[in-house]
Symmetry: C2
Amino acid sequence: MSLDRTSLIPALKNVATRLRIDSVRSTSEAGTGHPTTCCSAADLLAVLFFAEMRFDPKDPHNPESDRFVLSKGHAAPILYSCWAEAGAFDRADLLNLRKIDSDLEGHPTPRLPFVDVATGSLGQGACAAIGTALNARRIRSDYRTYVLLGDGESAEGSVWEAADVAAMDGLDNLCGITDVNALGQSRPTMWQHDMEAIARRWRAFGWHAIVIDGHDFDAILDALAEARRTKGQPTMILARTIKGKGVSFVEGKEGWHGRAFKKGEELDRALAELEQQFVGAPAGVNLPAQIPKPASRPRAVDAPRPVAPPAYKPGEEVATREAYGVALAKLGEADPRVVALDADVKNSTFSDKFEKKFPERFYQNFIAEQVMIGAAMGLAARGAIPFPSTFACFLTRAADFIRMAAISNVGIKMAGSHAGVSIGEDGPSQMALEDLAMCRAQPNITVLYPCDGVSAERLVALAAYHPGAVYIRTSRPKTPVIYGNDEPFVVGGSKVLRQSAADRVTIVAAGVTVFEALKAHDELKAAGTLVRVIDLYSLQPVDRDGLIAAGQAAGGRFITVEDHYAAGGIGDAVAEAVAPAGFTVTRLAVREIPRSGKPDELLDRYGISSRHIVDAVRRLS
Amino acid sequence: MSLDRTSLIPALKNVATRLRIDSVRSTSEAGTGHPTTCCSAADLLAVLFFAEMRFDPKDPHNPESDRFVLSKGHAAPILYSCWAEAGAFDRADLLNLRKIDSDLEGHPTPRLPFVDVATGSLGQGACAAIGTALNARRIRSDYRTYVLLGDGESAEGSVWEAADVAAMDGLDNLCGITDVNALGQSRPTMWQHDMEAIARRWRAFGWHAIVIDGHDFDAILDALAEARRTKGQPTMILARTIKGKGVSFVEGKEGWHGRAFKKGEELDRALAELEQQFVGAPAGVNLPAQIPKPASRPRAVDAPRPVAPPAYKPGEEVATREAYGVALAKLGEADPRVVALDADVKNSTFSDKFEKKFPERFYQNFIAEQVMIGAAMGLAARGAIPFPSTFACFLTRAADFIRMAAISNVGIKMAGSHAGVSIGEDGPSQMALEDLAMCRAQPNITVLYPCDGVSAERLVALAAYHPGAVYIRTSRPKTPVIYGNDEPFVVGGSKVLRQSAADRVTIVAAGVTVFEALKAHDELKAAGTLVRVIDLYSLQPVDRDGLIAAGQAAGGRFITVEDHYAAGGIGDAVAEAVAPAGFTVTRLAVREIPRSGKPDELLDRYGISSRHIVDAVRRLS
């Protein structure tokens, strides 16, 4: 900054006072919100936005712009106030906070152009910030990422997953600030104002930690400068603050979390106090006008080339998880935006095929699925096409991140391997039997489930360019290639694998159960019963028209068969799709907690093998 | 122990060699498994089981028995070997590892009497161990809890949630041992053998950390003794080990994770090496026979008294979340086994009503949902009836723990508040719209969803005594009491709230949508259309017979309406239940990512208000 501190600090103090006034006023107008959590952070954010960050209020998505993630998302009102103060929109809009027709929601979402990922589920911001920091490396930009955490949310394990990964990756372009106001929602936080105890934790996790008084502007300026100078490791500024700072009758008091001041005497008293905190500042100082704009460097457009097609022989045995790895490497070749994230299972998911070719675009998260998904969210928000993959069952570890990814509508392309009982001997802890339910529950997550090598490669390529989040489910066992290398696939499609004019039932399968359905078809055909077999490789969206057409051709009788629990998977998807035509569905699915055994034994024991399909057809037809 | 170390250690060494041989042999027989991860832990477990823990191999559930949790669940073969060595079952059974008819599964599950909770999803064991350690306090037993972690899994955030909570609770009856073998599945671990870096982390989190050579028997004995002497804080023994220790050609080598030795030359070579490691030991030493048995103190039986009934007036406005708190406090009064766990939202879920009465049975986990659920699992496994509660959306943070709770079949009684868009202004990050899908996906989780104060209290009491895991969904807004205080409720039941002989449609609702359905009923009735209204308070199991009977009486037309996304919730539950009768369902549910607004505005905007029900009825009938 060009200003010396004797001019700068009074101006920053006045910004902070305005941010507090906005936060108090807008929450009172809404009748709901978290003014006291805004007040503790006001001085920190005043300095960060108006004396540190480089950004263009009118172009928040500028690729060279510093990023800010508000991990303590309930402080949303002050975030909005910062952007209004910076000139991004009219300050009067702040009074529309939390109204149904305003994008100034209770917690930030990317409906606002200056929000990369939705926050409000605590402990996630630092993970997303790793993603935006990694993206700076990817695009060779010197933009920095700042993330504001609460001390309360630092009890979330995901924060420590982020701490590990950021330190391991040496992300010195990442700066955390923890607003240590010592009060949680319902009680004092764990470590309260024991700043050294908190600092020990960050230092032990490999960060440069700086303890400051979060209401001392000189200290805040110094700490941010020190963070900028710190190389080879991320910095965490631990700022001792007072919740409700500036409003004396709530300062440091329990019972004020998530409470707006009541309009009337209570609000008036708070505002009157705050108004008195304006200080004399040198004339002509206009901090918003002095925000350093990001460099606008010319950048080559990342034009993707065509993805190399599958190259299998019919009948060749290949696991879809392996085809996923092949496809990922091909995608990496075609498009520099494609990156991959692992949680120490790259040799099982075959994402190591990508790592071998593109080690600089492969991000290892060790055994920490939350930060893997969170980092992918940050990467996706900044223009990368991230493929995080692990065992499908361990994606449930990141279920809340996946929920927030859906709310953020970011294009993370998740792949889960080792689906279902067909993994065999490792037993139920390693079997994903609820992953389809988890991902289908989110209305804007696309769910794809290939059965062979060709469909796996094609669906991975489709996933990369389909808008929003996608989940691809792969299987452990090898399965024969049934599609030609040129077979076309579309999101929302399905394939009729067997049909005749005399079909009595439609069997809908996906993944490994496609082969059980084909076996059942052959056995039934030999006995004179014809059935239609559909590969439902796209579960969300689902091919409603195709399914209804099959129903109309095959007596309106459907059997679904899935290597998944009964709720939330293929049976439910098909049942909802065909209901408008008046068709119902008989479901074959895993209906109890399974156990260890050989894959074929387990498919049979849990009712989803060809034998069970044949029986179900015979009962129906 | 009565033996001096010159006699003890050679005997322990021979135990360790037998454990290694068992682990190698059983995994080779299975053709799958993790022998090298067993070998690194063999010396640690030999000492722990045969020179430290007090237990009765024939009575693993003895309430005074020391507990052992194998957090690194893939080392299951050596766990089984320890129990076989101790005499719990015949050593020959070890060769049935991973077979479909054996309970010696790929990863441990409570199908085995000596396993409290299933492990195999990494990073969960320390959380469960907190539960068993808290339970010792609850029942005033001096039993100790030991948990063996891997260094790789220590990247999971849940481990650090556990670290925080155990330190905060001063659990000096808890002793962790980390088998630092420096190799993960696909690569070296994050901190490899930097023992001091690892120790710094545990110390920073408030633990007493001891660094040892994990193959030095004296050091292991000393460390366990030091842990026993350490008061006021938990101890973590950080044991530097070598993966594959004892089999020279794999020791410390990458590429051997999860690989059994091939039968034939490879296995023979490994076994030959191990056999040579037996040492001369003093005659007559029989370590298994010397395992100290737990005290068998007489204990009063915890006989529950009747739970005080609800005491509401008809029409009284009460939020089901508040009734949950009232019910929990009443349950606490009736049954000393009832405990409650919070994640810093007790004043929103109203679990603070329980805390006020029973502070010693209330466990605060701060903002850390994984350890809350994990600790509840450990408590439930040891006879407590734990009610962990938080906002329903934040239970998704613990989805993988809930999955493992289902596999463990432990009786945790989860309550999630603030379900659906009806929470209003806080916005989507705070709205649970996938929690029913998450819990219904598990085949053995009971799912209950009260709509008023009476049903909330009754369902909470039912949950306490219903076998297995239960999920109770509560709502934020106040709703009128519609049931009499004596109204009976059963798991798997439903209530017909409105009916006539001329009903044209059945509306199935639960929670807040019950009142939308009742409003729609009245409006339709005024216009001459009669509809049946069902309160589906039990979603899993579901009242199939009741629903089909309604369908038969009301033209086979169903409309479901739910404050939840379309997949995995009420619509799917009803559709599957009535399909055998040939009935289909029209679903009203939230079908896009919602936003902030007032509750009524949101119910209407997202298609689940009475107006939408009326429209749907008119379209159908």
